[in-house]
Symmetry: C2
Subunit: 437 residues, 2 copies
C-alpha cells in the first residue's frame, strides 16, 4: 500500500527528504512504499539539487495539504507562518504531520497537540531538535520508565562551532562569527543562534516531552554567546573547564501534581571530563539523567540536509508503520500514547532566585593587597561557599583580574554577594558572570 507524501518546502531539508524518497534501495523497505506526490515551493523555476517532475511542484501549499493523494504532510518550510496554519489545516483534514519546525512547535506546540488529539492524528517532530540525532523519539518511547532529573544539551550547532574555534584558536567572538558566516555555518542574521533563542526553542520542546507537560517558551531565561569574551574561555581552560552554550531543564522538588522546572540557556563552564565537554564543531549532544537509568547521551550532527532529512523520514516511517498496524487510514483509531506524546501533568518554571548553581565570576579590581580578602568576605557574609579564587595576570596596567568559582549556591544568595562585591571600592567591574556545571 503506497503512502502519498506532500512536502511543504524544498530547501535544504526538503531536498534531502526528496533525495531519500527517490532512492529507496538499501534503506528500510518501508521507504519504498512512500511516494512523493506534491511539493510546495516558493519559486517554480529555481534550480534544484534534486530532480523532480514539474507536475509535482506547486506554489500553493494549501493545495498540497488538501490534495487527496497526500496522506502525510511534511512541513519543512520553516518560520512561524504560514507553517503553523498549514500544520493545523493538515490536522483538521485528518492528515498526520511531520515537521522539522522547532520555532512553531516551541510556541504553538500546545495548540497543535490539542488539535492533533481532537483529530486523532500524529504530529511527529524528530527533526526539530538535534538534526539527525534520535532524541525526540527515544525521549518519548525509550525513557518513559524514568523520573527525569535533568536534560542538558549542546543543541545549537552554530554556537558550538563558534565556541569550539574560539577555544582552539584563542580568537575573538566577532572574528570567528564573521568567518562562520563566510563558511555557511552561521546565517547572515545570526541573532536566533548566537543569542540563544534557537536553543531555547529546542529545550522547551525537550523539557515538554521529558516532563510530560508544555513549558512556556517565552519564560525561559536565555543568554547567548554574543557577549562572551575570549578571555573567559582561556581562563576556564586553565581552571580545567570548557565553555559551551548549554540548554538545561532540571526538575525541582515540589508537589507531584505539578512539575517545577529550572529551564535555562546560557554559556556554561563544563569540567573537561563531563560527557558534553568533548562535543565540538557543529555536533550536538543531549544528556538525559533519570532514575533509574542514570546518564544516557545522544550525540551526532545537529544540522545539515542529510541528517535532518534522516530524522524527517524516520518520522514518516513511524507513521507509515503504525498505519499498517492499525489497518490503514481513518482517524477513529485511538492513538499510541507514547508516539502521540500527550501532556500528562503541568509544568511550571520556578523563579531563578530559588534555583541553585555553581558560578564563574570574573572581576576587574585594583591590584592591591586585601582585595581577595574583601571579596571572600562578601561571599562569606551572603552564605556563598567558594571553590576557588584565582588572580590572573593582565596586560592592562594598574589592575588585576580575579576569577571566582563558587560551589553550588542559591541564586538569591549569589546575587546578594554580587551586589556587595560591586560596591567594593577596589572592584572596578564585574567583567563576566557565567554558570558552571
Amino acid at each position: 500500500m503506497t503512502i502519498g507524501i506532500g512536502l511543504l518546502g524544498l530547501g535544504t531539508v526538503g531536498a534531502g527528504v526528496a533525495a531519500i524518497l527517490a532512492t529507496p534501495a538499501g534503506r528500510h523497505p518501508l521507504v519504498g512504499e512512500l511516494e512523493l506526490r506534491r511539493v510546495a515551493v516558493r519559486d517554480l523555476n529555481r534550480p534544484r539539487t534534486v530532480a523532480l517532475a514539474a507536475e509535482l511542484l506547486s506554489t500553493d501549499p494549501e493545495a498540497v495539504v488538501d490534495d487527496p493523494a497526500v496522506d502525510i504532510v511534511v512541513e519543512v518550510m520553516g518560520g512561524l507562518e504560514p507553517a503553523r496554519s498549514l500544520i493545523l489545516r493538515a490536522i483538521a483534514a485528518g492528515k498526520p504531520v511531520v515537521t522539522a519546525n522547532k520555532a512553531v512547535i516551541a510556541r504553538y506546540g500546545e495548540e497543535i497537540a490539542a488539535a492533533a488529539a481532537r483529530s486523532g492524528v500524529y504530529v511527529l517532530i524528530e527533526a526539530a531538535v538535534g538534526g539527525g540525532i534520535p532524541i525526540i523519539e527515544p525521549l518519548k518511547q525509550s525513557l518513559g520508565a524514568n523520573r527525569i532529573q535533568r536534560v542538558s544539551g549542546i543543541i545549537n550547532g552554530t554556537t558550538n562551532y563558534i565556541l569550539s574555534r574560539m577555544a582552539a584558536e584563542g580568537a575573538a567572538y566577532s572574528d570567528v562569527l564573521a568567518d562562520a558566516q563566510r563558511l555557511g555555518y552561521a546565517e547572515a542574521d545570526p541573532a536566533a543562534d548566537v543569542q540563544g533563542g534557537d536553543a531555547a526553542d529546542k529545550i522547551a520542546i525537550l523539557a515538554g516531552l521529558a516532563y510530560g507537560g508544555p513549558v512556556p517558551r517565552e519564560a525561559i531565561p536565555t543568554e547567548g554567546i554574543d557577549q562572551l569574551d575570549a578571555r573567559d574561555i582561556a581562563y576556564a581552560e586553565q581552571l580545567g573547564y570548557v565553555v559551551k552554550l548549554l540548554a538545561v531543564a532540571q526538575a525541582m522538588p515540589g508537589e507531584q501534581a505539578e512539575q517545577l522546572l529550572d529551564v535555562r540557556v546560557h554559556p556554561t563552564l563544563l569540567p573537561k571530563a563531563h560527557p558534553l565537554a568533548g562535543v565540538n564543531g557543529v555536533n550536538n549532544a543531549i544528556l538525559v539523567e533519570g532514575d533509574p537509568v542514570g546518564q544516557v547521551m545522544f550525540y551526532g550532527p545537529g544540522a545539515g540536509a542529510g541528517p535532518t532529512a534522516s530524522a524527517v523520514v524516520a518520522d514518516i516511517l513511524n507513521i507509515a508503520g503504525i498505519r499498517q498496524a492499525t489497518g490503514g487510514g481513518g482517524t477513529q483509531a485511538p492513538l499510541d500514547p507514547l508516539l502521540a506524546a500527550g501532556s500528562w501533568r503541568d509544568c511550571r518554571l520556578v523563579e531563578s532566585a530559588v534555583t541553585s548553581h555553581r558560578n564563574y565570576l570574573r572581576l576587574r579590581t585594583s591590584d592591591r593587597a586585601g582585595v581577595i580578602g574583601a571579596i571572600g568576605t562578601c561571599f562569606g557574609e551572603a552564605g556563598v561557599s567558594i571553590q576557588s579564587i584565582v588572580q590572573f595576570e593582565t596586560q592592562s596596567a594598574g589592575g588585576a583580574e580575579i576569577v571566582v568559582i563558587t560551589h553550588e549556591v542559591c541564586e538569591a544568595n549569589f546575587r546578594q554577594a554580587l551586589a556587595a562585591i560591586e560596591a567594593l571600592t577596589d572592584v572596578q567591574a564585574v567583567a563576566a558572570c557565567l554558570r558552571t556545571l
Copy 2:
C-alpha cells in the same frame, strides 16, 4: 485498562523491573497501568530487595507464562534454556514478550522472530544490548531512512572497565581482572565477557537490525582481551591511541539482494579523538554511521539493575502503547513493521581475507641495524603501506621491540607480509597483532 505483567526471574534486573512497576508516580502515566501479576523465581524463600506479595511468586515459570492474567511475558532469567522455550511458549499463546536475553536472541533470534510473526506478537529486546542506552529501538524506529555503513560499539562493560583501569594504572590484565571480580564488575567465570562472546552476541543482534537480516552468530571472528599485554596499551598511548574491545559490523560492497558484512569483535586501537575513545569504565557506547545521517552515537550505562530495568520497562510501555492504538489484545491485527523489525534481506559474512583494516603489530627483534629495513621490505613486497614504524626501549637485554601501524590494507596482503616477517632471522616473535581504527 490495566495490563498484566508476568516476570520470569527476579534477579538483579527482575527486581529492578518490579521496583519501577511498584512506584509509578513521576514516571510516564502508562507505567501506572501495568500490574505485576505473577513472578517466577527459583527459590521462594530467598531474601529480596523488593517486597512482593507471597502469592505473586511461583517456582513454575510455565505457569506464569500460561496464567490468563498475564498479558505480557518479561523474560529476565538469562541463560539459553529454559529461557528460549518459555519465550516460544509465550509467543505460541499469543502473548508479547520482552526479554533482556542477548544470548538467546543472538542464537535463536530467527526462530523466535518467525514464531512471533506467525503469532502476530511483538518480541522486544531493548535491554539485550547496551543496558539502559536506547539503541535497539532507535535502530529500528529512527534510522530506517539510512543505508547503514557501519555499527561499532563498546558493548561489554566488564572488559571496558578492565581496559580503562589497565590504561589508567598501567596494571596487568590478570591483576585488574582479580580486582574487578572482587568488586563485582566481573563474574567468577569471566569467560563470556573477557573472551568477547558477550560482545559478539550483542553485535550479532545490532547488525541483524541495522542491516535487516539475521547474522550467523557463531561465524563472527571473536577475540577477547584475555591475551592483551599492558605493554601494548602503553605503546598505543604513546602513539596517540587508546585500546578498546570493539564490536564492529561493517557493510561491504556487493549485490543488493544480499548484504555482505564484515562483523568482528577484537581489541582495537582508537585514535584519541575518536568519539568512542573517551568511553570509560562500565559505560557502553554505540556509534552508527549511515547515509545520509552521518555519525550518531548512543552512550550510557551498559549494565546494572536500574539502567537495564529502564530498558525492559520501555519495551513493556511500547507494547502497552501500541495495544491501545490497535484496540487492546487480539493477534489478528497486523504488526507495526518498524516495531516488529522483521528481516527484509539476507546478510552474509565475508571471508576475513577480503576485508581491509589498519593494523598494529608489535615485534620482538634483535637489536641490530637493518632490522627495520628488512621489516619494511616485507611489507612493501606484500603491497602493505605503513603509517609508522617505531622502535621502543625494552628492559630485556639483547633485544628490541618494534611497533608498526599500517594503513588500511587487505587482510590477505597483511597476512602475507606477516608470514615473511616471521621468517626473518632477526625477528624473534610477533608479540602482538591488533586492529586499528
